[in-house]
């Protein structure tokens, strides 16, 4: 069943886009400012499968025609594509390295982190933000986070990641200020691990 722009299968976005996107942005900003601290998206959303409400809220808040988005195989279906095109107007990137944002709905099968845009020496901001949809932000092996936004250190858990995910992420640290910024979504919960965070395994 393929959804069309006006088709009955197209699910709604924010009920009140202006205040909803502001509220979600502040949660994303808090997440990015305090790596590993879990934030709640207190806005009801019923996005197309397999997107969680927090994933959908991030997309509705940050994506538009200027931000090509790449969907992993699990997220890449007709409903999700139609929903993103209609509510965000964002182009879909054919390749991971062409995207400013990526949705990893099945992160255990994610492509290598180093395959996304890492920015350039002069413009490290021209890099990808990955929305990693985790099975849980309460279970999973804890990693130890240090760096800007963290007073001393903070334990962070995300379940359902590829076995070498954190090793890959740690290997990118030597490239700083180049890198990718990670937003973890699970249900209505959200957390971030920006490139400035150092991972202890």
């Amino acid at each position: 069943m393929a959804a069309t722009l006006n088709g009955p299968a197209l699910r709604p976005g924010f009920a009140a886009p202006v205040p909803d996107s502001q509220q979600v942005f502040r949660r994303v900003l808090a997440a990015m400012s305090e790596p590993g601290a879990v934030q709640d998206i207190a806005i009801a959303l019923t996005p197309p499968a397999p997107l969680d409400p927090a994933t959908a809220a991030v997309c509705l808040t940050l994506l538009d025609f200027e931000t090509p988005v790449w969907l992993d195989a699990a997220a890449d279906n007709d409903d999700t594509r139609a929903w993103l095109r209609f509510h965000c107007g964002c182009p879909l990137a054919g390749e991971a390295d062409g995207a400013r944002f990526a949705v990893l709905a099945r992160p255990e099968a994610a492509p290598p982190l180093a395959g996304f845009r890492l920015g350039s020496e002069a413009y490290p901001d021209e890099s990808a933000t990955l929305v990693v949809q985790a099975a849980s932000l309460e279970a999973g092996d804890a990693v130890d986070l240090r760096g800007p936004g963290i007073e001393d250190r903070r334990a962070f858990r995300a379940a359902g990641l590829a076995e070498d995910f954190w090793k890959q992420r740690r290997d990118l640290e030597r490239l700083f200020p180049l890198g990718v910024d990670l937003l973890f979504a699970s249900g209505a919960s959200l957390a971030a691990v920006p490139r400035s965070t150092q991972i202890g395994l």
Binding site: Q22, R26, P177
Partner: protein
């Protein structure tokens, strides 16, 4: 409630999204200047709009906004910017530093320490710390990429050779998280230590040059200095004439046309609340009681 006929907080949603994305990258790369597509804002000439655009992109109905200009809540500019957001975003405003969720500032950091969850938004006229030393943007980008900051040390050391000390007292350059060289905007260097490991989020907006940069909470911010000339903040012989504080940044004001002058706190909220709490200074003390 915000008045009808405006976009919430004035900016359109597409512009806010673009600025929000820039802010997130700025937080992820502390001290690095993220380019953004600046917009015109209907604001007082001379204030600049970068910080205002940042505030407009983050503010929501639940926020309480404080606006200071040179430390004062009651200047024409500070009042008109507070009214602007009260009108376009329907937010509450305050002069009390600890009651604000967002503090929009030009040229000072409040004396009252900021706490977790607060956001300090700086108005920045010139974002590039290397600009006077290297006018070409492509070159300064390269210098940041390679951490080639020796020229800034040389410039400060020339001060020492000429004046015996570092003469720069405003917009004093800092290194953020041991990496990027950053201009803190024209705050007095007295305020530089307040940036270091602050629990608040600090965002910087430069409208004309279209740059946003940030210091996340709990991030190391070091003022440049030398082993034989460590960084020092301004000190005064006087205390505040009104509240007696010997710990705040003081402005010298002329009190009459015969050359009379006194020093008072630049932070009007801090000074006023100290006086409310019963503190007095040389100008407010009962002359008989104080024995002056």
């Amino acid at each position: 409630m915000a008045e009808d006929g405006y976009n919430f907080a004035y900016l359109d949603e597409q512009t806010k999204r673009m600025i929000r994305r820039a802010i997130l990258k700025a937080v992820a790369i502390p001290g690095y200047q993220v380019p953004f597509g600046s917009r015109e804002m209907p604001l007082p000439y001379g204030w600049g709009t970068g910080g205002i655009q940042v505030t407009a992109s983050i503010i929501g109905r639940d926020d309480t906004l404080k606006v200071i200009d040179q430390g004062a809540d009651d200047t024409v500019n500070a009042v008109s910017i507070r009214k602007f957001f009260a009108r376009t975003a329907g937010v509450g405003t305050t002069e009390r530093t600890e009651d604000a969720t967002i503090l929009q500032t030009r040229h000072r950091i409040p004396e009252t320490p900021l706490g977790p969850g607060q956001i300090l938004v700086y108005q920045v006229p010139i974002p590039e710390p290397l600009r006077w030393l290297e006018p070409r943007e492509a070159e300064t980008r390269k210098m940041h990429a390679l951490e080639e900051y020796g020229v800034m040390h040389v410039r400060l050391y020339e001060d020492i050779a000429r004046f015996g000390h570092i003469a720069t007292s405003y917009d004093y350059p800092v290194r953020v998280n041991g990496r990027y060289l950053m201009r803190p905007s024209p705050i007095p260097k007295f305020d530089n230590p307040k940036m270091d490991r602050s629990p608040a989020l600090q965002l910087f907006g430069a409208g004309r040059e279209k740059r946003i940069y940030a210091i996340p909470p709990h991030t190391g911010v070091r003022s440049l200095d030398f082993d034989d000339h460590p960084f020092e903040v301004q000190k005064w012989e006087d205390v505040c004439a009104l509240c007696g504080s010997g710990e705040s940044f003081l402005d010298e004001i002329v009190t009459d046309d015969r050359g009379g002058r006194m020093f008072v706190c630049s932070d009007t909220d801090y000074c006023g609340r100290r006086r409310e709490a019963g503190h007095t200074g040389p100008a407010t003390r009962d002359p008989e009681g104080s024995g002056a």
